[in-house]
């Protein structure tokens, strides 16, 4: 099993990159959800124009 360290490091690096990118996407998704919630809140708080309910 000579040089086994290199192959395990190679797989660890690739999986770290893949999972790192997936977590980055999850972070972006959470950020978008927060922005949407904030927009929705802004719309609800906005006073309705006169004559309208």
């Amino acid at each position: 099993m000579e040089n086994a360290g290199y192959i395990f490091t190679a797989f660890a690096v690739i999986w770290a990159l893949v999972f790192g990118y997936v977590f980055f996407l999850l972070g972006r998704q959470a950020h978008i959800k927060r922005q949407l919630d904030s927009l929705q809140k802004g719309i609800k708080e906005e006073p309705s124009p006169p004559g309208k309910m």
Binding site: M1, E2, A4, I7, I14, L17, Y21, V22, L39
Partner: protein, 221 residues
């Protein structure tokens, strides 16, 4: 992409990944000269393939974006460039881990390695231009130009081993130099990473479109 299709593709990617791992660590025989470290090949080639595939998508999406000025094409190019940068980073790091025991060095200015490093810098420039352009639409246009001009490096990466005969082993896949079990393992690994690319690209693209829409809503209100 609807969620059901994305779940199916994610599941397919997971199954193919597990199958590829089984083939790489259990099924495929150890190569005589290089030993166990040759198995890095089944990661290095898919990473290189994804780097190329990503840039082909960036190239096409950039041309269509400049022609039609539709933000969806820019989102596609941006998303593909992001995945391409990750894949190129993976190819360079894994290639270095392969080179150390085989060539005795972590890095050498060999034609294909150098062309791949240039590709990495092009991807980095693609994002730097967007950051420094100030206005979003101007950044998108500048990045699209880099996505088109940078495509010139792709044939250089692919043909580097044929044109300059460096240390990098070239043509082993298409010249029939691989044993059937090795070819099968490589093809499954390529398929696994290609499906993963599609899933990540579609996910990133829909997030990018959502980000753009929110920005437009904020500007208009």
């Amino acid at each position: 992409m609807d969620p059901m299709r994305r779940y199916i593709l994610s599941g397919l990617s997971l199954v193919l990944m597990l199958l590829a791992l089984y083939l790489i660590f259990v099924y495929v025989p150890t190569e005589k000269e290089m030993g166990i470290v040759q198995r890095i090949f089944y990661l290095m080639v898919p990473m290189g393939w994804l780097a190329l595939l990503s840039f082909i998508v960036v190239f096409i999406a950039s041309i269509v974006f400049l022609a039609k000025k539709q933000s969806g094409w820019d989102a596609l190019a941006y998303s593909s460039a992001e995945i391409g940068l990750v894949a190129t980073t993976g190819a360079l790091v894994v290639g270095s881990l392969w080179a150390r025991p085989i060539w005795g060095v972590w890095w050498t200015w060999e034609p294909r390695l150098t062309a791949t490093l240039v590709l990495w810098f092009i991807y980095v420039a693609y994002f730097m231009v967007r950051s420094f352009a100030g206005e979003e639409s101007r950044g998108a246009r500048f990045a699209a130009v880099i996505g088109i001009v940078g495509f010139v490096d792709l044939p250089i990466v692919v043909l580097a081993t044929t044109l300059w005969r460096g240390m990098h082993p070239g043509g082993v896949i298409f010249s029939g130099g691989l044993a059937p079990s090795m070819l099968l393992t490589l093809l499954v690994s390529l398929a696994a990473f290609t499906v993963l690319y599609v899933v990540l690209l579609m996910t990133r693209c829909s997030l990018r479109n959502a980000e753009t829409t929110i920005k437009q809503i904020k500007v208009n209100t």
